[in-house]
């Protein structure tokens, strides 16, 4: 077994010191080490988006990031999305639009949609679909998910109103 490595990172705005094997993915350390199980494992090879997190604000598949790569960087997971005053607007809209059925893909979609709206606060339907194409959902046919994202954008069209922990 290779030596374990100490990794200093920030997770959802809190400093964290992790002891990781180099082979461990960020997904594995979040779920098994930190018990942040909101980040889901659907395929473990970058094809479903269920494990999406933000790494220094950039959308990534945490199954394709080594935990040691998080050294000195900040990670935002689904557990860090809600605002102090309650659910993030995306979370609220996902519920209002019934944009989840089983809910397993939902954390990944919300993370992904948050990254989209921060970059493009007023996306078209086509832009939403393109951005979300790396997140698979098997229940909803995407209809209500796309509507929830579009409605979130319409209700709060400026980036600043999203808040959250993203640097």
């Amino acid at each position: 077994m290779a030596d374990r490595v100490i990794v200093n990172t920030s997770i959802n705005g809190e400093e964290a010191t992790l002891l990781c094997e180099p082979r461990q993915t960020l997904l594995e350390v979040l779920r098994e080490g930190l018990r942040l199980t909101g980040t889901k494992e659907g395929c473990s090879n970058g094809n479903c988006g269920a494990c999406n997190v933000l790494l220094d604000g950039v959308l990534v598949n945490s199954c394709l990031v080594l935990a040691v790569e998080a050294e000195g960087r900040s990670v935002t997971t689904i557990e860090g999305i809600a605002l102090p005053e309650g659910l993030h607007p995306l979370q609220q809209k996902f519920l209002e639009h019934a944009a989840l059925q089983c809910g397993i893909c939902t954390p990944g979609f919300i993370i992904s949609a948050k990254a989209l709206l921060e970059e493009n606060p007023s996306p078209t339907e086509e832009e939403v679909r393109f951005w979300l194409a790396g997140n698979l959902c098997r229940c909803t046919g995407y209809d209500k998910i796309v509507r929830a994202v579009l409605d979130t954008a319409e209700a709060a069209p400026s980036v600043g109103s999203f808040g959250g922990e993203t640097p």
Partner: protein
Amino acid sequence: MTLTRDKKGVAGKAPYKVIGTRPLRPDGADKVTGKAVYGADVHLPAMLYGAMLRSPHAHARISSIDTSEAERVPGVKAVVTAADLPVIQDILTDLGEGVVNLRYTSNNVLAHDKVLYHGHAVAAVAATSTAIAEEAVKLIKVEYDLLPPVLDVLEAMKDDAPIILEDLRTTELGEKREGQTNIASHIQHRRGDLEQGFAAADIIVEREFRTGTVHQGYIEPHSAVGLYNDDGHVTVWCSTQGAFGIRNQVSELLKLPVSDVTVIPTEIGGGFGGKLGVYLEPVVALLSKKAGHRPVKMTMNRTEVLQATGPTSASYIRVKMGATRDGKLTAAEAYLAYDAGAFPGSPVGSAAVVILAPYKLDHLLIDGYDVIVNKPRSAAYRAPGGTNAAYASEAVIDELAKIIGMDPLEFRLKNAVTEGDRRADGPVYARIGFVETLHAAQEHPHYRAPLEGKHRGRGVASGFWNNWGGRSSVSASINPDGSVNLLEGSPDIGGTRASIAMQLAETMEIAYEDVHPRVVDTDSVGYNDATGGSRTTFGTGWAAYEVGLKLIDEMKRQAADLLEVDLESIAYENGIFSSNGDSLGFKEIAERIDESGHPVVASASVHPEEFGPGFGTHIVDVEVDPETGKVEILRYTAVQDVGKAIHPSYVEGQLHGGVAQGVGWALNEEYVYDDEGHLLNASFLDYRIPTALDLPMIDTVLVEVANPGHPFGVRGVGETPIVPPAGAVANAIYDAIGVRMTTLPMSPGTILEALWAQEES
């Protein structure tokens, strides 16, 4: 079970207060914040991690298994093989969407003497980490004697095909036949005189169809945690559609009294029929027993999910139909051969019902064959068998309509079944809404809109699903604040906590927010069949209705005591109990329950039989790129008789999901095997389920023809919408490019080939 009528009058017609609204789901906040605990999220103290050794071959005899080296790896606590499973006899059990033989299930969870498909489980390891377990698995030595595999359903039916299960004998129209075979059964439905029927036809169309193996494609892999405690009690935490079904299977497979098994269902990340049977559950329990009674967790990866769970049958279907020039069907003949994977139990039975279910026919013959091949054991998948069957029959219906020159919806209307008609396999329809879906489709702006542009086409198709009643139990109690705790045993896959709580709230005339539903374990509520067969909102909703009536009756007794009047004089309306001018509010009584010293609790169980089938009619516009063979879905409308939409958003969602899965099946999804039976595309990269960019918005029309067999008129809605899409898309492709596609998926490559064949002929 006698039908208890909604006291507001005719089923499904009442002016409801809660039913038909769109409240937020009770489990919503947990699911959008990542707090909800799914199968792989369970973590117990001192937990071990499991990994499975799977067969690299499609068909081989296991001559030896040597686990000694794996056992010596530091951190390995247990290794199990089929030798650790009790020997069991034939036990048939209904999982909800099909009957299985548990002797075969035992063979499926850990291969007995042969491996029967690529990915078949052979041995399992429990260790202190997943990494150690995975390393140890590689050290298990298995010697295989390779056998020739058979993968194709028609090849497997041949006399000289390799035999997969030595003891299998064909059940021919109910009679056991002699001789080794891969044909598990042959069923038949017949009516009238086929020859006479076809003689009366002006036009006869006969076509052959092939459909590939497809997977349910739930995003959450199977996961289970097992604790075989020191006292002999087994507890399993798992993601399942039916905790009681898992309990019963674990109990039978491990030869334990059912009372020694508790199953705690976690949240479930999709099932679609694929999470009814056991895979990991008995294995983690065995590992836990061997590992000193420590809990053991095992989670499949995506490759394992695709290799070893779920898929639904590939099929060969031949359909022949005759019609008169004025659009009347005169006869129909269907031959269906479905592959069941390695063990009997394909959904050919329900396929044989679906294939002609929408149409009035005096003369018909349906033959169905259940055939085993060297692929993973087929599991139920949303309207099992229905999509393949309707793909074939709806294409032939479309072709007949085109030849006659009649509008395809009009043609269906001329032949549509209505109340009193007999289904192909015998039963008589009660009130159904097929005709209503056809009318709604005809009147829909989509159907009336002109479709312009080259290589564009419009197709329609209809579909049927019988739905299911099953058994449901609930318990409920009233809190001092007037809210109600509702305990259910139906795992909530798509918002059923909400739809069941809404029915309780409607029954009790209380606010939806005052109902607190919980999905509990198998020790905490009466028996429930699985969340499957589109039964949960229907059946468990009905149990909630029954328990609501009981709670109100009990509250009336409390009101009578408090008001000091006769029970018979108490009336209840709009949350107020009254008698001769005196009244008490529901919440007032609830507050005083403690002082009266009589907590209000109730339980109810139902086993409804009049579950009421669903019919749907879909319209789709496509554009085909004739240079690449790629099909783009431009517009999609799904019309369905839903009985009564309890929570319309979730009903729409069911239609959306069925359409999306159906379109995936139609265009790209299939298992790709090499000649040796290795599955080549066991990943979400090459097993191509639709992405957000592959689908348009999906318009839905909820037609509400109340089911007379339910207090609120509910029909199951989840399965019907996956039945029509493949046929509708095929018919649209024909309209676009003039090619009749007869294989699923209608992938770009197959469409190009068909176009080339058309050019060359």
